[in-house]
């Protein structure tokens, strides 16, 4: 019974946060803020759901599984990377380097750095 309650709570929590995460995706005003909603809300959403499953199988389902843990690990490991990459993509597409604080006066953020970061027009084309 107690497990049932815990499981139920976890499921409801998971569902709730999953929904909120995606709702945030719709509701929040600009891309950078929208990035926050799913990277976190969804982690807990799916995290709670997986935890519910982790508990459900040994207690209610009569078999033990640990895969949920692995999935969770994987998700938590990768979520920051996807977050950072989407942010970088967004910075690249929608932001100017000057709109951001600089890391140091003469340095750029990695997205804005690099010798290749030139306009197509500037590029020398030797043969044409």
């Amino acid at each position: 019974m107690i497990w049932e309650i815990i499981i139920s709570v976890l499921l409801v929590t998971g569902g709730f946060f999953g929904l909120v995460g995606s709702y945030g995706l719709v509701k929040l005003p600009d891309p950078m803020t929208r990035l926050h909603a799913p990277t976190k809300a969804a982690t807990l959403g799916v995290g709670a759901t997986l935890t519910a499953s982790l508990i459900w199988f040994p207690t209610q389902g009569g078999q033990s599984t640990w895969h949920e843990l692995l999935i969770l690990l994987f998700l938590f490991m990768t979520a920051p990377i996807t977050g950072a990459f989407i942010a970088k993509a967004h910075l690249h597409l929608g932001w100017d380097a000057d709109e951001l604080p600089r890391p140091e006066p003469d340095l750029h953020w990695a997205t804005f750095a690099g010798p290749e970061n030139e306009s197509v027009l500037d590029r020398k084309t030797p043969d044409e």
């Binding site: 997205t111 750095a113 690099g114 197509v120 590029r123 084309t125």
Partner: protein
């Protein structure tokens, strides 16, 4: 000598000049002449037997089930034609030796000539109409080659094509006619057909067969309105004209009429078709001949005219006419060949064949003059030459025949033809030889050497001999041949003088009229030029040009390189035929209950619908389209899971990510947006096609899902025996690696080949124009910094070994749970790809000492070896066995030999995916990307060490 051998000898002769192509004119002529002579000798040896009424046959089975056999026969008709073909052939071979220039490819000429000779002999000796057809068409082909022999002359090429096309037209019609004839007679052997007169003439197919066969005969014999090809064939070297277009080939049609005379003639259809055509041809061609300026052209039309005469005689269907026809064949061959050779000599010596540039050659070329005049007079029907004899016979026959109830029309026209004939014959004599000598011949005319003269001289001797002594010189041959034609023993007697009868009067009229006409000729020429007249060549050109134009338009229209049209046609064909097939059958109606729909499937459905619709709407934004593809793939995978197909879901989702990576790699070099370049109307039409196809497919699948199997599916057995006999509890996997392992074997081969193709293509691209273009590539978008972001490098570095473990797990448990070699391979590939994406290609590549070619090869071989392994147990390819391997203390595995197969799958998948991606990456590197030596762009820890 066997008739077959006689027919074969010219072909053997044809090989010789080909083999001795460099040894000159003499060798070629002698070898061909020898072959011809032997054949002629062989033929003549049969004369006594044939005179005695025998028919010499030789039979070889060739294609008995079709009734096409190499059956030969020599009867009187064959003998007549055989002697003509081989005898004149011998003369032509001699003549050509001296006629052709040293620079001409003489070997080729003789080869063609002998091919033709063989074909002709084949026609006349065939005892099987299908065999006859073979030789018949061969004459068309070899004449094509001979007419076009001087390939630099446009007239030659055009003439050759016209001749080929017209005679091929007839030949094709004749194929049909002969097949019908044979089907009626129940045999294709001429001997049998000749016995089937009643059956043939009673058959409803008699008229079609007759028309088709006549089409063949008339085209070959240049009968009206197909006569126009013959003058254009005169572009051929003169020996060819003399041989093919006067003596032999054009007579093949006559031969055919004569050959089938016993079974086809005697009906009104025959009479009106054949006799009328003959008459028309005789008169019209003679009329045209009067005005020709080119000697050979004049002779050609005269030939057409005389062929018409013979045709008309055969068309009469009476025995007398048949005899006259046979006799005229002999006579015409002698004087016409002589005339052609004369024309050739004049051309050769005077440098022109144009009558308007000739005249007065009598003194310069006395021998030629004599020969030419005698032959021309014979052609004019002047006694006592042989032409006179048959002209009289012809006129006699026309007076006896009745045409649509009219007894005079035939002989009036017959006389008219004879009159024209006199006119052009005398024109040949007077305007070439007589008159004042000129000083503007293109060359210096004089009598040629013996080689060129011997042929025509011999022929003219015959002209005179037959004319004077017809009963001793030629009657036997005419008797033999006309007996063969009529099927009744003939014993004709010929005489120059029959008393003053209608024929003689007509003959006299013709001669006098001809003289008068000759006197009027210049005036008439002007008059004729002023009046429009049909021109066969121009009509032919117009028709062929039109046909070519239509064909081009048609071809351009129906295969215009439009993919969209092709696929649209495919879609509509599928829908139309599918619908037709379905609606003409019976559908039982929905028998299976529907599954309930929960909230999740409904959500999935909405997602899929919306995503698909968006995909179509936004497909021109390519990256968005790819995102949508990923979403659709995700939902499809979810669908598979929901509907009890975990293996499918695993495969689908992992394949899809690799596909997306691949598409992204390609998209880097492709435009990022699709230009809108189809018109609204086309898009509307496409949408219609798409909707109809979608509806059709949806409906089909609905019908299927709602109905039951008509028979228990074989998968029941698989479910039952998968564990028992296959040793695995994941039935899908057991099917893949065991029940249907052979499919999987093919499947991984496909994958391997795909990778090899990609690799090969990449190499080719980089080596060619694309490589240069890539080296000067300008990226079409602004590029961010941070090529190898540190965060990604660190995490993928951790993910790689974990993924390998997961891959191993999925591989090992595949036989019993969802998974298996394929998914495992993809998982490992994806992990490796993530390394590439994070740390850069060169760095990651350096760390794998893997040759993906070898992987693919090893994969296919491993799968193959697992299959072949069974051979050693005496079992078929891919027979698996299994057992549980329990290494003490270690994880217990079920080790099916099928797992070796699965290993092959794994290797192949990894090799193929990686080789494919490698290749794409190579294209990218061609654009001049720098190579990284470190896994990440900046490594702060290293930097600290340096400090």
């Amino acid at each position: 000598m066997s008739p077959a051998l006689i027919a074969l000898l010219p072909f053997i002769g044809a090989l010789l000049p080909g083999l001795l192509i460099r040894s000159g004119r003499d060798v070629a002529a002698i070898s061909c002449g020898t072959a011809t002579f032997i054949a002629l000798l062989g033929l003549c040896l049969h004369i006594p037997a044939i005179m005695a009424g025998e028919v010499i046959t030789a039979r070889f089975e060739w294609l008995p089930s079709l009734g096409m056999n190499a059956n030969f026969r020599i009867d009187g008709l064959g003998l007549l034609f055989g002697i003509l073909i081989l005898g004149i052939g011998l003369l032509i071979i001699t003549y050509a030796r001296y006629y052709l220039s040293r620079n001409d490819p003489v070997g080729l000429f003789y080869t063609y000539l002998m091919l033709f000779q063989g074909a002709m002999i084949g026609i006349v000796l065939s005892d099987n109409i299908l065999l006859l057809l073979v030789f018949w068409e061969l004459t068309s082909l070899s004449s094509f080659l001979l007419i076009g022999y001087w390939r630099h002359l446009p007239e030659g090429r055009q003439g050759a094509r016209i001749a080929l096309t017209v005679t091929a037209l007839g030949g094709l019609a004749m194929i049909a006619g002969m097949l019908i004839l044979g089907n009626i007679a129940g045999s294709y052997d001429i001997s049998d057909i000749l016995q089937a007169r009643e059956a043939i003439q009673a058959s409803p197919l008699y008229v079609p067969a007759l028309v088709l066969i006549l089409l063949g005969a008339f085209t070959k014999s240049a009968q009206f309105p197909f006569h126009f090809w013959l003058p254009h064939a005169m572009a051929a070297p003169t020996p060819v004209s003399a041989y093919l277009h006067s003596a032999t080939m054009v007579k093949a049609g006559l031969f055919l009429l004569a050959r089938l005379w016993p079974v086809l003639s005697g009906t009104p259809e025959w009479f009106y078709l054949v006799a009328t055509t003959g008459l028309l041809t005789m008169v019209s061609a003679a009329w045209i001949a009067i005005f020709r300026d080119d000697l050979k052209s004049l002779l050609a039309f005269s030939t057409v005219s005389h062929l018409g005469l013979i045709t008309m005689l055969l068309g009469f269907g009476t025995q007398g006419a048949a005899v006259a026809a046979m006799f005229h064949i002999v006579n015409h061959a002698t004087f016409k060949a002589a005339l052609f050779m004369t024309a050739g000599i004049i051309d050769h010596e005077a440098g022109t064949r144009s009558i308007s540039r000739l005249g007065g050659l009598r003194r310069l070329m006395p021998i030629t003059f004599t020969i030419g005049t005698l032959a021309a007079l014979s052609m004019a029907g002047v006694p006592p030459l042989n032409g006179f004899l048959t002209k009289e016979m012809m006129l006699q026959e026309t007076t006896e025949a009745v045409w649509f109830g009219n007894g005079t029309v035939l002989y009036v026209f017959g006389t008219l033809g004879a009159l024209f004939s006199v006119c052009y014959s005398l024109r040949f004599v007077t305007q070439v030889f007589l008159g004042p000598e000129r000083d503007d011949y293109p060359a210096h005319p004089h009598d040629p050497g013996f080689g060129l003269l011997v042929g025509p001289a011999l022929l003219v001797v015959l002209v005179v001999l037959i004319g004077m002594f017809p009963n001793t010189s030629a009657a036997w041959l005419v008797a033999a041949s006309s007996s063969a034609v009529t099927g009744v023993a003939q014993d004709p007697h010929f005489a120059l003088w029959h008393g003053v009868n209608l024929a003689l009067k007509l003959s006299l009229t013709a001669i006098l009229g001809g003289l008068l006409l000759l006197a009027l000729n210049p005036g008439m020429l002007a008059m004729r030029d002023a009046v429009w007249r049909p021109d066969g060549k121009r009509a032919f050109d117009a028709i062929t040009r039109g046909a070519t134009g239509v064909a081009r338009g048609f071809t351009e229209r129906f295969t215009n390189g439009s993919m969209s049209r092709a696929l649209g046609a495919l879609s509509m064909t599928i829908v139309a035929t599918g619908l037709w097939a379905f609606s003409t059958g019976r559908y039982q109606g929905a028998s299976r209950p529907m599954l309930e729909v929960g909230v999740v499937p409904l959500t999935g459905w909405i997602l899929l619908m919306v995503a698909t619709a968006c995909m179509v709407a936004f497909h021109r934004l390519r990256i968005l389209a790819l995102v949508l593809v990923s979403i659709i793939g995700l939902i499809v995978s979810g669908t598979f899971i929901y509907l009890s197909a975990p293996d499918l879901a695993l495969t689908q989702i992992s394949v899809e990510v690799v596909t997306v990576v691949l598409l992204l790699l390609a998209l880097n070099f492709l435009p990022k947006y699709t230009i809108l370049d189809s018109a609204d109307r086309k898009r509307g039409l496409d949408a219609f096609v798409a909707t109809v196809t979608g509806l059709g497919f949806g409906a089909l699948s609905y019908c299927i899902m709602r109905s039951d199997f008509a028979f228990p599916p074989i998968s029941g057995y698989m479910l039952e025996n998968s564990y028992k006999l296959g040793g695995g509890s994941n039935v899908v996997n057991v099917i893949l690696v065991d029940f249907r392992g052979y499919d999987t074997f093919g499947e991984i081969t496909v994958l391997g080949i795909a990778a090899l193709t990609i690799f090969a293509l990449t190499e080719t691209l980089l080596a060619g124009a694309s490589g240069r273009r890539l080296r000067n590539w300008v990226h079409d978008s602004l590029r961010a910094g941070d090529r190898h972001p540190m965060l990604l490098v660190v995490v993928t570095r951790l993910i790689l070994p974990i993924s390998l473990v997961v891959g191993l797990f999925i591989f090992l448990r595949g036989h019993n749970s969802p998974g298996g070699g394929f998914v495992a391979g993809l998982v490992v590939s994806i992990a490796l790809v993530s390394q590439y994406m994070a740390s850069g290609f060169s760095w990651a590549q350096e760390r794998q000492s893997i040759n993906y070619h070898a992987f693919i090869g090893a994969g296919v071989i491993a799968a193959g070896i697992t299959g072949i392994g069974a051979w050693f147990a005496g079992l078929p390819f891919l027979t698996s066995t299994y057992g549980y391997v329990k290494l003490p203390g270690i994880e217990e595995f079920e080790l099916a030999s099928a797992m070796g197969f699965d290993l092959g799958v794994f290797l192949c998948v990894v090799g193929a995916v990686m080789l494919g991606l490698n290749s794409l990456t190579r294209i990218a590197r061609q654009t001049g990307a720098t190579v990284n030596l470190e896994p990440m762009d900046v490594d702060p820890s290293k930097e600290a060490e340096h400090r």
